[in-house]
C-alpha cells in the first residue's frame, strides 16, 4: 500500500449525493480475480456512452463529454469531491481499487457509507468528512476556478486551499498511523496471535456447542 503523507492535486467535482459502488464500478468488472486494472472502468456507465465489458479496447469507446472526468483539466484530477453518503451499497472493494487505480488519492464528502469508508484506508485512499457548508463552499470555489488545486496534509490533518486558508479534518488515529506508514494491518494483528489463542481457549470452553 502506498503511504499517504501529503498530497497536492486538482479537485474534480462530482456533484451527486448517494454515489453507490455499483456506479463506481459496475458489476461486469467484478468478475476479475485481480486487484488491479479497474481504473479504466471507474464510473464506466457515466464515463462512456457505450456499454462496457471487461477486455474492451478502450480507444474505440465513445466517452461521455458531459461527465466531469472527461473534461479538462479533471482527467488529471487526483482528489474527488462529492455530496452525502458517498460509496453506499455493495461492499465491493473493487470500488476503492478502481478509484485508486484511476489515480485518486483522496475523496472529500459530507458523509461516507461505513464499509466503503473502511475499505478506502486499506488501499492508500483517504476519505475526508467535511461539513455540508464546507463541501458546498468548495464546490463553488471549484466551479469558479478551473483546475482548483489543494494540498492535503495528513500528519497535521488539514487541507490547504489556493488562498492558503487551512481547513482541518478529523481522522481516526489508528487508521492515520496505518495510512501514513503504508502498513498492512494483518501483520499488525498477527503480532497479537497469542492473545487470539488465549481468547479462543476461554471462548470455546464457555461456548462448547460452537466446537
Amino acid at each position: 500500500m502506498n503511504p499517504f503523507i501529503t498530497h497536492t492535486g486538482i479537485v474534480a467535482p462530482l456533484d451527486r449525493a448517494n454515489v453507490d459502488t455499483d456506479a463506481i464500478i459496475p458489476k461486469q468488472f467484478l468478475k476479475s480475480i485481480k486487484k488491479t486494472g479497474f481504473g479504466p472502468h471507474l464510473f464506466d456507465e457515466w464515463r462512456y456512452l457505450d456499454h462496457g465489458e471487461p477486455g474492451m479496447d478502450l480507444t474505440q469507446r465513445k466517452k461521455n463529454p458531459e461527465f466531469v472526468l472527461n473534461q479538462t483539466p479533471y482527467e488529471k484530477a487526483s482528489i474527488l469531491i462529492a455530496r452525502e453518503n458517498f460509496g453506499c451499497g455493495s461492499s465491493r472493494e473493487h470500488a476503492p481499487w478502481a478509484i485508486e487505480d484511476y489515480g485518486f488519492r483522496a475523496i472529500l464528502a459530507p458523509s461516507f457509507a461505513d464499509i466503503f469508508f473502511s475499505n478506502c484506508f486499506k488501499n492508500g485512499l483517504l476519505p475526508i468528512v467535511l461539513s455540508n457548508e464546507t463541501i458546498d463552499l468548495l464546490f463553488k470555489s471549484i466551479y469558479a476556478n478551473k483546475g482548483y488545486t489543494v494540498t492535503i496534509d495528513l500528519e497535521n490533518q488539514f487541507i490547504v486551499l489556493p488562498s492558503n486558508e487551512k481547513i482541518s479534518f478529523q481522522v481516526d488515529a489508528f487508521r492515520k498511523h496505518c495510512l501514513m506508514h503504508g502498513l498492512d494491518d494483518i501483520g499488525l494483528t498477527m503480532q497479537h496471535s497469542e492473545s487470539i489463542k488465549a481468547f479462543e481457549q476461554d471462548y470455546y470452553q464457555k461456548n462448547s456447542w460452537l466446537l
Partner: protein, 467 residues
C-alpha cells in the same frame, strides 16, 4: 449490572483486545463467495499465510452462477474462471464449499441460516454488504471488504470501532398483504439511506416479534440499505425453533447448553440506545420505490414526486435525475406504472415463505401480455426442492413465469439474467441503483406479492385490493 443492548452483549463477548477504542473482535462464522474472495486468497498465498480456523468457513458460488441448465456449465469465460477459482481456493485451503452443482448450493445469505451455519450469539462476516441478514438470529453480522476478508481468513479477527446503537421499534399489527419488505422500505423512506450510517440497528416491538424468521431476515437484510452495517432481532422461541435440527446446528446436550445462552440474547429492559425510531406497523402500506435509491419510495396509493416542490437545489436535482433515468413523469400515480419484467428472488426475498406469498397471488392466473419475462429464482437448491414439493413451481410455470436454478441472478445481473436498457422491472431485490439490474434498466423494489400482482396486471396494483 449495567443494562446492555443486544449489540453491546454480542460485541463485548467477542473482544480479543482493545487499544484506544479500536477493538480486535473474534469472528465465529465466515461466509465466502466467489466475487469478493479471490484477491483475499491470493494475498494469503503471496504472504505465505494460512487460514486461521478453516472450520469457521462456509463457501458457495452464487453471484456468477447461471440460473438455467447447470449441466451446460458457465458460458461466460470470465465468470467461469471466478467460480473455478473459488473451487480451487477451497480445495487448497481445505474449506467446506457447496459447489455449483451441489443440491445445497444457493445464495450465501439463504444457505447460512438454512444449514444452521448461522447461529444466535455469533459474529458473522462475509464479503457482501447483505450479511446484515444473519442478524435476524440475534447475531452480530456485517458485510466486509476484501482486505477484511483476508484479515479474517488469516487472523479470525476483525478490527472494529464500536457502532452507535439504534432501536427501530415497530408496534402494532401489519395489515393483510403487508410484509417485512414493506416495513424495511417504509423505514428507509423515513430515515433515508444514510439514516443508519455508523449505527447497529436492533428491530424491536410487537410487530417484529410476530414476524417469521424469513420476515426477520428480509428486514435485517435491508438494514444496510438504511446505511447500517448491522441489523438484528433478539432471540425468542421463533428463532430457536428455526435453528433446531439444521445440519450444522448443535444437537442434544450441546443444544440445551446453547439454548440457555441464546435466551439471554436480547436487550436488557433498561438498556439505552443512542437513537430510537418508531414505526406503527398498522399504518404501513404496500411500498414501491420510484427512483434510483431505496429511499425514493412511496406507498402504492402515492405518486411520483414533483421536483418543483423541493426547495433544496441538491435534492431537487437528485429527484430530476432519478425521474429522467426512470423514464417517469412527476405526479404520476404509482398504480399507473407499466412493467416489462418481474424478478422474484435475491437474498432479500427468495426464501420459501416469499415464494409461497407470490404463488398465492398468481395461482390460477396468467401474467399480463406486456410482461416480457417473469423470473422466479429460489434462494437455494433446498428452497427450490421444498417449493417443488409444495407444487409452487407448477403455479409459477402455469402463470407464465420461468422457474430457475438458485443464485443471485437479476438482483445484480452478474450472470446472464438482466434488464435491457429502458426495461422496467418489479423486483423483490434490494437495490434500485442505476444499472443495477443491467445497464439502463429501471428497477422498482417491492414485496414478493406486489411483484407477483404487477406480473398479473402488467402494472402496479394494491395487493390489498385483491381477494
Amino acid at each position: 449490572m449495567q443494562a446492555k443492548t443486544l449489540y453491546e452483549k454480542l460485541f463485548e463477548s467477542h473482544i480479543v483486545r482493545e487499544e484506544d477504542g479500536t477493538y480486535l473482535i473474534y469472528i465465529d462464522r465466515h461466509l465466502v463467495h466467489e466475487v469478493t474472495s479471490p484477491q483475499a486468497f491470493e494475498g494469503l498465498r503471496i504472504n505465505h499465510r494460512s487460514v486461521w480456523r478453516s472450520k469457521s468457513i462456509l463457501a458457495v458460488p452464487d453471484h456468477n452462477v447461471p440460473t438455467t441448465d447447470r449441466s451446460l456449465g458457465i458460458s461466460d469465460p470470465i465468470s467461469k474462471i471466478q467460480v473455478e477459482t473459488l473451487d480451487e481456493n477451497c480445495k487448497h485451503f481445505g474449506l467446506t464449499q457447496f459447489p455449483m452443482n451441489d443440491s445445497r448450493q444457493g445464495i450465501v445469505h439463504v444457505i447460512g441460516p438454512e444449514q444452521g451455519s448461522t447461529l444466535p450469539g455469533m459474529t458473522i462476516v462475509c464479503g457482501d454488504s447483505h450479511t446484515s441478514t444473519h442478524g435476524a438470529f440475534g447475531a452480530l453480522a456485517m458485510g466486509i471488504g476484501t482486505s477484511e476478508v483476508e484479515h479474517v481468513l488469516a487472523t479470525q479477527c476483525l478490527i472494529l470501532k464500536k457502532f452507535k446503537t439504534m432501536e427501530v421499534r415497530v408496534e402494532g399489527k401489519l395489515n393483510k398483504g403487508i410484509t417485512a419488505k414493506d416495513i424495511a422500505l417504509a423505514l428507509i423512506g423515513k430515515i433515508g439511506t444514510a439514516g443508519g450510517t455508523g449505527y447497529a440497528i436492533e428491530f424491536t416491538g410487537e410487530c417484529i416479534r410476530s414476524l417469521s424468521m424469513e420476515g426477520r431476515m428480509t428486514l435485517c437484510n435491508m438494514a444496510i440499505e438504511a446505511g447500517a452495517r448491522a441489523g438484528m432481532v433478539a432471540v425468542d422461541d421463533v428463532t430457536i425453533s428455526y435453528v433446531e435440527n439444521r445440519p450444522f446446528s448443535p444437537k442434544g446436550e450441546a443444544l440445551e447448553k446453547a439454548k440457555a445462552y441464546w435466551k439471554t440474547l436480547h436487550s436488557d429492559k433498561d438498556a439505552k440506545f443512542d437513537k430510537v425510531v418508531m414505526l406503527n406497523g398498522s399504518e404501513i402500506l404496500p411500498q414501491v420505490t420510484w427512483g434510483t435509491s431505496p429511499e425514493m419510495v412511496v406507498s402504492i396509493e402515492g405518486m411520483t414526486p414533483d421536483p418543483k416542490n423541493e426547495n433544496d437545489p441538491s435534492k431537487r436535482k437528485s429527484i430530476e435525475d432519478a425521474l429522467t433515468y426512470m423514464g417517469l413523469e412527476p405526479n404520476l400515480p404509482i398504480n399507473q406504472i407499466k412493467i416489462d419484467k418481474i424478478f422474484i428472488g435475491s437474498c432479500t426475498n427468495s426464501r420459501i415463505e416469499d415464494l409461497r406469498e407470490a404463488a398465492n397471488v398468481i395461482k390460477g392466473k396468467k401474467i399480463a401480455q406486456n410482461i416480457k419475462l417473469a423470473l422466479a429464482v429460489p434462494g437455494s437448491g433446498l428452497v427450490k426442492l421444498q417449493a417443488e414439493k409444495e407444487g409452487l413451481d407448477q403455479i409459477f410455470i402455469a402463470a407464465g413465469f420461468e422457474w430457475r436454478e438458485p443464485g443471485c441472478s437479476m438482483c445484480l445481473a452478474m450472470n446472464a439474467d438482466r434488464l435491457n436498457p429502458g426495461e422496467r422491472c418489479a423486483s423483490t431485490s434490494n437495490r434500485n441503483f442505476e444499472g443495477r439490474q443491467g445497464q439502463g434498466g429501471r428497477t422498482h423494489l417491492v414485496s414478493p406479492s406486489m411483484a407477483a400482482a404487477a406480473g398479473i396486471y402488467g402494472h402496479f396494483v394494491d395487493i390489498r385490493s385483491l381477494s
